[in-house]
Symmetry: C2
Subunit: 407 residues, 2 copies
């Protein structure tokens, strides 16, 4: 049997690596960005469009799909792949982040940018116990309970290729003591997830553990070693990653440093990170897959990705200065929005008129941008040019065949 | 020079005819349905998708585009075709219907189903004078004035292939006397539209007159004769068409009866009509083109077209009985929603979750349904099988190659 992660190339100067994830529904070329299909749809797009952009996997959400339409219904409809008509691999988030974001609230300056959306916040946490978490549904106000076993059962019913263990996702503002106690409970929950998975053996599903430990080096390193040494064949890095980007890079560095020692061949997923500079750094730190709401969420709000680090790689199409701008979002961009000649002025107007077409076009552009960026990084690692390509991206080079140019 | 309408086939038993409209941006195969691109976008779709469904022309709206983004901006951006990236013909509504729907209000049982949408109603009419109409913008609350010349100037700036004359669109509940006076003013306005058009000669734009006259046979017949005998090369049938379908068919019958006598070669557009049975009857009555919000608007509200006259050719995907329905909207349907296997259950769930993908998929299905219906009707006229094909559609036959089957 092929290994879960087949490593193909390594960058000699960093922990970066390319490879292929061998999953039940196909292969994922890594390092890869994984677009969100939170509620069983990539908002506004058809699956075939996401495939055409070059994505091999999407991320569905256990918490949301548990509440609606319910995992039994999805299972009865043939599983999440069949239900949403996405035939390639799916990774499912465990629901931990969503459940706990209701209870812990959020900290404005927290680095992950995973502030709960309106629907996440509309629910309420009722109690965190050793057994699991009681909370109120944002859909019908009814009380629900989610234990590690519930999360596993839901993910098995959804039929995802990769399931994530149910963890307590601690935010940035909790104490070291809380983080320590919570991390220990997350490890007990991980044991229960593995036990459930061993007993029920969902066909074609790989379980990833989640490394917590917050921003405390000893806790993060210990937690990473601990979860990496369980039988779960993959590791996700979760929880609080710090107050700013330098701290986040440091925390990820501790985690992948440990992974290099104790489980170098296990695939590594970084939860909720996806800004351009973070993807570059994450790849250098040895991350294999990333998910993030950013490209799709900002697209729906009129923000488009452009190769300009001075603007955090984004422009705001809703601003008045876009009103008469005759250029596309980005020159020479092969995405469906730019290549068909839609101008910034037209998109500005459509956003002002609340026209759906605008959301779609900018979502397509942003996902196309990130897809090319990841292809560039993979190509760079394969051709031994990662330092040059990473430097070019950080300096504002447009993604697309950068690796080839540098090679 | 090719005639505006090249008639190709005639049905011996009715006024139905097939042909080609020769317009500046290409040909339109008639009889044709014209999807709405009210604000410069077919809501949620890209132009290429609408083209791929088989549509040759879309309808933009003078009133809405006058208010935002403004016709000067659209002109500066290269015209409406360039702005919205639709390279085929565009017909523009004159704005009369939208302006007057603010003043006259609507009658619930009025046949046209052209009840103003929220944005239409948010404005307010301030005065109807011989010179034109003053009204309040629903966008910024500012006062605006639209005269026949304004409508012509806006449509010239938009650069549509077919412009409609500026008319007073009388609703069903006004008196015969009001209708008569209003129709006379509409004729004076038509003269001013023709004069403006003669003076400015917008390149590649054909002007259609509009027949008013309400539901009064003598007024409607006289109005139709009057406008058809002007130099405007096409005629649209507008205003109130009655309280129910039989009355609407009667009014259209009077109008096309007159057109057969006085202007048999001029193309005929029926404004705001597009239900399945109405399209069949309209074609039999000799209509060449139709526009209607129905297929796209009901699609955004979860209603999908199906070949079932007992349900007015529609099912409501938001109903609870759709929750577990594993079939597509329609069996053997080649549209992007059905052919990709999206189930009624999935669409039901997406509508409940307010997911954009649902609106898009059902809009695509509905437009695909109507496109095949019109292709069937054209094929039936060409092959001399219109009676059989029309009967089959009325009995609930699925559109798509019906004409071939009957031939």
């Amino acid at each position: 049997m092929a290994p879960l992660l087949e490593i193909q190339h390594r960058d000699p100067g960093s922990r970066a690596r390319t490879g292929v994830l061998n999953l039940a529904h196909g292969q994922v070329r890594t390092p890869a960005f994984v677009p969100l299909a939170t509620k069983g749809t990539i908002k506004g797009l058809e699956p075939r469009e996401v495939r055409a952009l070059g994505y091999d996997m999407v991320l569905g959400n256990t918490f949301h799909l548990f509440l609606a339409p319910g995992h039994e219904l999805v299972k009865d409809q043939g599983g999440l792949h069949e239900f949403m008509r996405w035939e390639e691999p799916i990774i499912t988030d465990s629901g931990g982040f969503q459940v706990f974001s209701m209870g812990h609230g959020t900290v404005a300056d927290e680095i992950k940018g995973r502030a709960p959306s309106g629907s996440d916040r509309a629910g309420a946490i009722l109690g965190i116990e050793e057994e699991g978490v009681r909370f109120r549904s944002y859909i019908d106000g009814g009380e629900r309970f989610m234990a590690p076993e519930t999360s596993m059962e839901v993910q098995a019913a959804l039929g995802s290729d990769i399931a994530l263990a149910f963890d307590e996702c601690t935010p940035f503002h909790v104490t070291r003591e809380y983080t320590e106690r919570s991390t220990e409970r997350t490890h007990r929950w991980l044991d229960r997830c593995i036990a459930w998975h061993d007993e029920h053996q969902p066909v074609g599903q790989a379980l990833y553990s989640i490394s917590q430990g917050g921003v405390y080096e000893d806790l993060r390193r210990a937690a990473t070693r601990h979860v990496a040494q369980t039988r779960a064949p993959g590791v996700a890095i979760g929880g609080s990653l710090g107050a700013d980007k330098p701290q986040m890079y440091e925390v990820v560095d501790w985690a992948t440093d440990e992974l290099e020692r104790v489980a170098p061949d296990k695939p590594r997923h970084l939860l909720g990170i996806g800004e351009v500079d973070d993807l570059v750094r994450g790849v250098e730190l040895g991350i294999d897959t990333f998910d993030c709401a950013m490209p799709t969420r900002i697209g729906r709000h009129g923000m488009a990705l452009v190769p300009d680090p001075s603007r955090r790689w984004r422009i705001d199409l809703t601003k008045g200065r876009m009103k008469q701008a005759k250029e596309p979002i980005m020159e020479d961009c092969p995405c469906p929005a730019c290549s068909q000649g839609f101008t910034r002025a037209y998109l500005h107007y459509l956003f002002g008129a609340h026209e759906l077409t605008a959301l779609r076009l900018v979502t397509l552009h942003n996902l196309a941008f990130i897809a090319r960026l990841m292809a560039d990084l993979r190509g760079a690692i394969a051709t031994g040019t990662l330092p040059q390509v990473a430097a070019a991206i950080r300096a504002g080079a447009a993604p697309g065949a950068l690796a080839t140019a540098a090679a």
